[in-house]
């Protein structure tokens, strides 16, 4: 299951960062990128024939550049817009990878993205969850990296209203 979802997850993440975020992600990380500090995470829960969630973790100051790119702005957008941008990226990557999870004709419902920054107490718990993901994509960009984790419920669907 892990290997069959990893390739489509990478494909979805790369195309989204390129086409929506105007970034050039790479699968090769430098030591500095690997050690970059966490800054924010966004989770999109989904329900349908299969339930689960997709979480993006950003490290190393990528978020401001990403949001600026999306808005076509020279300056870093205000924090609320940066969070919005990250949530939308998670939303798009999740929607793009779901056919690989449930099939081309599966109807999924995606919950609104929930964004946490590294200063919030819930962030560490969210980061710890990444170790149990079903598939993972790690992409280097600028001075940092993005980690995209896909969680798929094996038996019991994850309620959309459960706080992350």
């Amino acid at each position: 299951m892990i290997h069959s979802l990893e390739a489509p997850l990478y494909q979805a993440a790369i195309s989204t960062f390129e086409e929506l975020g105007f970034m050039l992600p790479s699968r090769e990380l430098t030591p500095a990128q690997s050690a970059a500090p966490p800054e924010a995470a966004a989770t999109v829960r989904f329900d349908g024939p299969v339930a689960g969630a997709l979480t993006i973790y950003l490290f190393g100051g990528v978020l401001a550049a990403l949001a600026a790119n999306m808005l076509g702005s020279d300056d870093a957008p205000e924090p609320a817009l940066q969070r919005d941008a990250l949530g939308e990226l998670a939303n798009v990557i999740c929607g793009t990878v779901l056919p690989a999870v449930g099939g081309a004709d599966a109807d999924f419902h995606l919950a609104a993205p929930r964004v946490t920054d590294s200063a919030e107490t819930s962030f560490d718990a969210a980061l710890a969850l990444s170790e149990s993901s079903m598939a993972r994509a790690v992409l280097a960009m600028d001075d940092g990296r993005a980690e995209i984790h896909l969680f798929v419920a094996r038996t019991t669907p994850i309620p959309l209203e459960v706080a992350s």
Binding site: S15, T16, E18, E19, L20, F22, A67, N69, M70, L71, G72, P77, L81, D84, A85, G87, E88, N91, V92, C94, G95, T96, L98, P99, A104, D105, A106, D107, F108, H109, L110, A112
Partner: protein, 142 residues
Amino acid sequence: MNFNVLVVDDSAVMRGMIVKTLRLSGLPLGEIHHAANGAEGLERLGEHWIDIALLDVNMPVMSGEEMLEQVRSNPETRDLAVVVVSTERSTSRIERLCQLGAAFVQKPFTPEMLRETVFRVAGVSDDSLAGSAAVSGGDLDF
């Protein structure tokens, strides 16, 4: 003719991206209105004359699909030109949206993809526009 546009998406960043693409596309724009969900979108339609609506699908309060069903069932709005801009990948759901008379642009989209679909829905071409379009093909540099 200037086109009045309604952009419906729960992401302010996505609404901004769509509006920016439209401004750079060369399409003659009039008023641009925003809504964060389908219910707000219907309110905007009741308040303003709209020529083209661009809708997301997955939104809180009211989805884009529900909004589109109500648009098509209202005699005053049933002929509205609609482009759905969404991450939706389900073939059956996309087909339902197309049967409701919407064009479809999948996220992530390139500016060229969005421009081409909006131009087609609006019934304009590069030749029909006075002056050259800001984007005529190739890469868009923001």
